[in-house]
Symmetry: C2
DNA sequence: ATATTTGGATACATATATGTATTTCAATAC
DNA sequence: GTATTGAAATACATATATGTATCCAAATAT
């Protein structure tokens, strides 16, 4: 597994990453509240010592984990929206984005978990909302760009459109996760398509 | 507190209710995974003995709690949708419903918690989805009624419309809870109004 | 009145959590 | 090569959880 002899910095970074990865896995499985520090280090193959040497506590690690994930998400976002100059398919794009960005259900669950935790813990909420706001800003930027190019006017401020679009995409995805039978892939897509489409038409 | 001498049945029902109420409170505060049986009984002023005498375990209690809450929600639903014969304001109605039905944030958090738990636990998922499906059926019924009366045709099967509308309403509410500053009451309402309105127009 | 049931408290055995204090051993510095 | 540093393990003290087994007192039945 470990290929070359690591120096301190590298070694520390490695365990840190291992802990984060393990945390992601185990939190997705058991929920944040239901996950103990012990669970995390066990999954990662370390001990509690390593954990407390790297993080202040569970909250701290969680935010760190989300930050990493968020960075990845932005990469996907830019990839999806940069690859084309044709702006007419905002719906498709955003759906594709959410299809890609939550590449697995665990990830979607993780963010739901985070939001829920945020509702209950003010300090955590503040930090999480920095990430979420950044998300809104990016989507919002895309909405603006879209309207510039199509010469239309958004029916609401771009940021509010972003809030709605994000909410919709996420919750349909989530509904699908909760009930994959009733809300199967096809249904989820139809619903998203209709809702996105309708809202876009409203702006012409 | 206790007014009259209770017989066994009544007494049992009373503790049961007390436990359920306490659980709702404490789960909303700490999350399901983060809540111990001990927490629940402490809040209710009983002991673990009472708990295990009334429920098989935490999952069992949780479903029971949701079932009760669900029943209440349906009452609100009917109240909101029965009070008028004017069917033209589906959006208003549904928004009003979601405004009323999740009369406090705790309740909304509780259902999110439940969904999240369901994603991870198949047995629980089955039972939760019975409740959610029933919800869809009711909203769906309203959508149908709406289209009958307005002589329009839904752009998607009524049930799929219901899925989308519920997802939207819930997630905007949730977004508001997570970030009450950015997604304040006014923003949430504007977004909901626009999205609902657009979708409804799509059906004409 | 006495016997029986049973809801819920108490006791028990065991398992798991937390956070800090201390130790160890490899990586750096000298 | 020896000294120093620091990441992670171990040890420790304490707290909290779980589920069952047992007990008790109030509510029924006889």
């Amino acid at each position: 597994m470990v290929r070359k002899r690591l120096n301190r910095e590298e070694s520390r970074a490695q365990t840190r990453q291992a802990l984060l990865a393990a945390a992601g896995k185990v939190i997705a499985k058991r929920g944040f509240g239901g996950t103990s520090v012990e669970d995390i280090v066990a999954e990662a193959g370390y001990t509690r010592g390593a954990f407390y040497s790297n993080f202040k506590g569970k909250d701290d690690l969680f935010i760190e984990l989300l930050r990493d994930d968020h960075a990845e998400m932005l990469e996907v976002f830019h990839e999806v929206f940069r690859t084309t100059s044709d702006m007419h398919d905002l719906g498709d794009r955003l759906r594709s984005f959410y299809g890609q960005v939550y590449r697995n259900n665990d990830q979607c669950a993780l963010w739901m978990e985070a939001r829920l935790h945020a509702v209950r813990h003010a300090a955590f909420r503040t930090r999480l909302n920095q990430l979420i706001d950044e998300n809104y800003t990016h989507v919002s930027g895309f909405v603006e760009r879209y309207h510039e190019l199509t010469g239309t006017k958004p029916p609401l401020p771009a940021r509010e459109m972003a809030i709605g679009l994000c909410a919709l995409a996420e919750s349909v995805k989530f509904a699908h996760m909760v009930n994959p039978v009733q809300v199967n892939e096809a249904v989820a897509n139809r619903v998203l398509e209709l809702f996105f489409g309708s809202v876009m038409q409203a702006s012409e």
